[in-house]
């Protein structure tokens, strides 16, 4: 069977690509589009390192067939910053040293953005359960949770004072 012709939107840009049925969204993001910020830690949806937004909803790119992306809007870690201006979550991860090796960081940033887009004022418990699908083996999560809570506070402040 011929490859599928997929027309989709990735990081606000229209994208066309060819893929086999068995290729995942993660495969084409990394191998066809060169967007290697989404990482493959397990291939089974258990680590969250490949977290992306699909129409604003948080999903693991390894659990989405590439062909399913047709007609949807995909946002990857490469689409979180505005040009070279970091998103407040990214900035806070840096300021709070919320990463050590950094392999899980793209997934956490995308997941945290999905949370704060829905809930600008989450509790620590809400942050912890929302991020439970993102594994980090370096930090013990402490600085990550703090960074998300602080970024949320700063974003609320920003929203009030514009």
């Amino acid at each position: 069977m011929a490859k599928h012709h997929v027309t989709t939107t990735v990081n606000r840009q229209p994208v066309e690509l060819l893929c086999d049925t068995s290729e995942t969204l993660l495969d084409v993001l990394r191998d066809e589009l060169g967007l290697t910020g989404s990482k493959e830690g397990c291939g089974s949806g258990d680590c969250g390192a490949c977290s992306v937004l699909m129409d604003g909803r948080l999903v693991c790119a390894c659990l989405v067939l590439a062909v399913e992306a047709t007609g949807h809007e995909i946002t990857t870690i490469e689409g979180i910053a505005e040009g070279n201006t970091l998103h407040p979550i990214q900035q806070q991860f840096l300021e709070d040293a919320a990463l050590q090796c950094g392999i899980c960081t793209p997934g956490f940033v995308v997941a945290a953005k999905a949370l704060l887009d829905r809930n600008p004022d989450p509790t620590e418990t809400e942050v912890r359960f929302w991020l439970a699908g993102n594994l980090c083996r370096c930090t013990g999560y402490d600085k990550i949770v703090r960074a998300v809570l602080t970024a949320a506070a700063k974003m609320r402040e920003e929203a009030v004072h514009g």
């Binding site: 049925t21 291939g43 997941a111 439970a132 699908g133």
Partner: protein
């Protein structure tokens, strides 16, 4: 190496046709959170994957005077955001919400959770306790069956070739009724249930239990609907003695296995504990409405 075909029908009829015309081994794709893992591990290589998410009826949640119709391909996150359903069926909502991470919730579906036919599927005991039914469509027509009749064993369903579930039917909440679902996992998230219990019960004006359904997960080849558990509750005020009897009946109904996730002894005991705790929560909810 034959390529895997992909079809995304836009109607139930088209989907039936696609599945009917497919060679053996065709797979239905809803949320994909089980299928893609199996594909990647090389456990399955279906000739065709039929994606049901293009079918509008399978993606909607409808509320009528008598009940909820939940499309089989509605994602967990979507159902969780349905305030009315969550208010009337908190146990089912929680159970569905317990399936995997936030990321999994963005994809996993009720139809998929049921048809994957894992004995440990979280939404299934809650649906059984709630008395949910599902609509099965196929070339030979449409039929409606109770959820507990769908799964016949680990990885096996009673669906005929080409059949799939289009929607789930759940009644409106009755007065003085409540449901709850609890599972045990070693961590707080990201685990498969080691044992689980769903309870739905109804009280009369005096607080006596008039109806109850208790279902257990991960303690037998399929989720169980345990009549003895219901008997232990019906006619009681859900006092400690009744709850102890419930726990004993639940443990007695277990026929679990030893595996990497838990032992027979552990599952048997904990199923009783969970049934008792879930019944307590369901009773509180029933008293509150």
């Amino acid at each position: 190496m034959n390529a895997v075909e992909y079809a995304k029908p836009q109607s139930i009829d088209d989907a039936i046709r696609a599945l009917n015309n497919a060679p053996a081994g065709a797979r239905v794709l809803a949320g994909g959170t089980d299928l893609l893992v199996q594909l990647r591990a090389g456990h399955v290589r279906p000739p065709v994957i039929v994606d049901l998410k293009g079918i509008a009826e399978l993606r909607r949640i409808e509320v009528t005077a008598t009940g909820f119709r939940i499309g089989a391909a509605v994602a967990g996150a979507e159902l969780g955001e349905h305030a009315q359903f969550a208010a009337e069926w908190p146990g089912v909502t929680e159970a569905f919400h317990l399936i995997g991470s936030t990321q999994i919730q963005g994809r996993a579906t009720m139809g998929g959770n049921l048809c994957n036919a894992s004995p440990a599927a979280d939404s299934v005991p809650a649906l059984i306790a709630a008395g949910a039914r599902c609509v099965i469509v196929g070339a030979s027509g449409t039929r409606e069956v109770a959820v507990e009749e769908v799964v016949s064993g680990p990885g096996k369903t009673t669906l005929a070739k080409g059949e799939f579930i289009s929607e789930f039917l759940i009644a409106r909440r009755q007065a003085h009724s409540g449901d709850a679902y609890l599972r045990f996992i070693p961590r707080t998230e990201m685990d498969i249930a080691v044992a689980s219990a769903g309870v739905c019960l109804t009280l009369d004006d005096k607080g006596l239990c008039t109806a109850a359904r208790v279902s257990l997960g991960a303690v037998a080849p399929t989720a169980l609907l345990v009549a003895d558990c219901a008997k232990a509750l019906i006619g009681t005020s859900l006092d400690d003695a009744a709850l102890a009897k419930l726990a004993a009946a639940a443990s007695a109904a277990c026929a679990p296995i030893n595996d990497k996730r838990g032992t027979i002894e552990f599952r048997t005991k904990v199923a009783g504990v969970l049934a008792r705790r879930a019944a307590t929560i369901a009773a509180q909810r029933a008293r509150g409405n």
